[in-house]
Point group: C2
Chain length 492, copies 2
């Protein structure tokens, strides 16, 4: 068990796939590009949802639900958005099956049940939501509208990868409407901050906040903000985006309001989302060759207790102590599993919970009972320590905090080490090929240069960091003047 | 405000629609048959989800997520299920749009992107889930599988009604797999009990537990259990179903396991679900001509505090007291809104919160400050009482319990009064036409009689109550012998 995972150094992609399979997180379904999120994987998503949902509500947002389908004419109203998603849309054209007269027990699409207007399965919900906002917004008193939706969306991806890129995925999408550009930009920035805080505090994953270049913007947005994370193989991963939509969707759907001054004005909008892709990021940011390493704040099980016993009498005595510890920890709000199965050896269980990333493992054997101790092992560093039984419940919270912090610090150090400042294209290519990671370089700000670099190196501009210093320089590719560095990387 | 709702006696259907609109619960979207669940309506769904999810987990279930799409060949594997849903399926046939050369700025379905096999948008997930279970189940050790999914499903309904019947709706669907028929039946019954407990304890809505007749069974089930509720207009509403699937899906998808004895056997299954339809039931069971009446256990806001003031100085003093009360109640876990808007009069606010069904309203005016009292009004009975300010926080929990209980008792009394035992077909028809409600009558057990009665009276067999007494009698329609009474009603 556990040893069947390919090592990261041998084949990082295969390691990722093996890990997802062995840790029972998800699997490919028989439906092209769609995954099944298995119970353990889904329980991580539930933890993410809980934390994010609270953060959204604490910043004044409410949840609602809008239709899965978008009529084609509605979908195409915002032209750039429609153009951007047109090539990856699942389309409903019929609403009925009928018995296939030529094949017994088979069904066929009923040609008589063709829709007058085709329905797009939402790849994102701006169109359906702004067409609804038109009915909800008349006056400045109706603003701001601060709404979030938890939903599934479909984007017909040709090359899929569990969690990172699937035809159907789960996400949340916030859609807000404001009276002024200023307010909408503040909202866009606020939600970027929420995402960054979630990534760093809950996922223990440091992120760079920045803006996308024009070429990488969300179709229909004026500005796309993002958080970018660094994976262990030196590739970047976009973990969340927050878009300032300007008045683009208000124009497309004619959403106007009467201002305080009595004038009719177009509404300003934002949208922002994170998805089950975050589970892929979580795996790739922290896990190791023995399995998942989960930050305690997102771990479905915080502590597992494994009894070491030779017979039922020993198990009985150990169980008594285990239950005391478990009860005490549960009262403090921790999730504790006591694995008293007699069908598996302790070594098997140890490997299983390492695979599943349980942050703390407590082992109790007959000698521990004598000495009134337990063995406490932490998943992140694999360190073990003896702890007095009576102190376990009091010590675990601090240990979990330390694990959360250590996982973050390790990732932070790694990212720092994997961020390289370069001043020539030679160096740029060398770093990408030999080291990977973020490359901080001057760029002339043109789409042409961006495209040429992507074509030649497969690296994209991940973002223009919000905290990038003003610095005179010359573009590594064109030699033209540049005023700040941007971050390039090969990315997921 | 509030007075624009049609009264129940005038037009019950219109009352229902008006109420949903005025209380901001939901609206029809521009997508045929699909609704938008607005924030206030969705917050009720969130409360329902929380309660149900906890009950599912407390009975050993875990959540997972399966694909939205079901390939046609997979969908048709269980013939009865496929036949039952074939006529109401949305079908995806293409995966791309392209620029329409004949219309500027328009898109068209790309004929080159036709799917080899059409995809059915799930109307229910037995097919996709059992095709997955085949991979997960090899041995008796893999059983039982106790999985639930929160998801959207699509059933192309021709006549839709907000919450009660919509083309897309939100629900949960449990799908379990067991080694024996006995275990699967126990599970089916357990989940029926969970639904009944939820309906009665949280929704304050009494329900009859029973089995469906063969004609009303879920397609592909051996037995369908249900809970049936009585609405204020005398029509019944099916509020939840739990199906014993026998080995039907195991056969269709060849899901076998090695038993303890080493034999290959087919797996036994169940499925069970409740949906956003419950919000419709909640509205129709309790609400009145002034708006929603929400049981406290599902109310998004438990208590609203409305200040009565003439100027800012008064508001300031009242606010101090209101904040003390609000803080105290929030610490006890209640949701409290202090509505200090100066743009609306108290009377307007009173009507608004009656409309929204907030169980308790507290009004505080200048005289209350002098007397150290507040006026407490309960939504269910409209009774008002003066309460000492210092006792409010201590008294509210009991008041909320009393409201919860009173709403249930009122509905229970109504249902009792609306359940009529009849022994002749004349009486049967008379009761249906003049009184409505449940009609308890003998039935000969045949589909022919059931169909004839439905044709002639529009009443269906809601269920064969689980607690129906053995009683010799004759069918009201055919005069043939019958051993127990069943419940008929016109239904939603």
């Amino acid at each position: 068990m556990g040893k069947e995972i390919t090592s990261r150094s041998e084949d990082y992609s295969q390691w990722y796939i093996d890990l997802i399979k062995k840790a029972d997180l998800a699997e490919n379904s028989d439906v092209r590009g769609c995954m099944v999120i298995k119970p353990y994987g889904y329980s991580i998503w539930e933890k993410m949802q809980q934390a994010l949902d609270k953060m959204f509500k604490d910043t004044g947002h409410v949840n609602a639900y809008f239709p899965l389908f978008v009529p084609k004419s509605m979908f195409e109203a915002e032209e750039k958005n429609a153009e951007g998603f047109a090539k990856e849309c699942a389309i409903v054209t019929h609403y009925r099956l009928k018995t296939d007269p030529s094949a017994k027990g088979k069904l066929m699409v009923d040609p008589a049940a063709k829709l007058e207007e085709e329905l797009v399965v939402r790849p994102t919900s701006e169109a359906i939501i702004w067409s609804t906002y038109k009915k909800w917004i008349q006056s400045y008193r109706d603003l701001p509208l601060l709404i979030n939706q938890w939903a599934n969306v479909v984007r017909w991806e040709m090359r899929t990868r569990l969690f990172l890129r699937t035809a159907e995925f789960l996400w949340q999408e916030g859609h807000t409407a404001h009276a002024t550009a200023y307010e909408a930009i503040k909202e866009t920035e606020q939600m970027l901050d929420v995402y960054a805080e979630f990534a760093e505090t809950f996922m223990a994953m440091p992120v760079i906040k920045g803006k996308k270049s024009e070429g990488e913007r969300f179709p229909g947005a004026i500005d796309t903000y993002c958080i970018e994370a660094m994976m262990q193989d030196g590739k970047a991963l976009q973990a969340g985006t927050s878009h300032f939509l300007g008045q683009n969707f208000a124009k497309a759907f004619d959403v106007q309001f009467t201002s305080k001054e009595g004038k009719m004005e177009l509404v300003w909008g934002t949208s922002w989302g994170v998805s089950t892709r975050l589970i892929g990021a979580l795996i790739m940011a922290h896990s190791d060759d023995d399995g998942l390493v989960l930050p305690p704040k997102l771990a479905p099980i915080h502590v597992v207790i494994v009894p070491i016993f030779k017979n039922e009498a020993e198990l009985l005595k150990i169980s008594e102590q285990a239950e005391i510890i478990a009860k005490d920890l549960r009262q403090q709000g921790y999730s504790v599993k006591f694995d008293n199965r007699d069908t598996h050896k302790p070594g098997y269980k140890f490997a299983e919970y390492e695979l599943k990333g349980v942050p703390v493992r407590i082992a109790i054997g007959p000698r521990d009972l004598e000495n009134k101790t337990v063995e406490v092992a932490r998943r992140d560093t694999k360190e073990k320590q003896l702890m007095k039984m009576e102190e376990v419940a009091a010590n675990i919270p601090a240990l979990l905090d330390d694990i959360q912090n250590n996982i973050y610090q390790k990732a932070f150090k790694f990212r720092t080490q994997m961020t390289t400042t370069v001043d020539s294209y030679e160096e740029f290519k060398k770093v990408l090929d030999e080291k990977g990671g973020f490359v901080s370089a001057h760029w002339d700000g043109t789409s042409e240069t961006e495209a040429a670099i992507k074509e030649e190196t497969k690296a994209t501009i991940r973002c223009i960091p919000l905290d990038a210093a003003e610095e005179e320089g010359t573009c590594v590719y064109s030699g033209k003047p540049s005023s700040k560095r941007v971050l390039f990387a090969r990315a997921y």
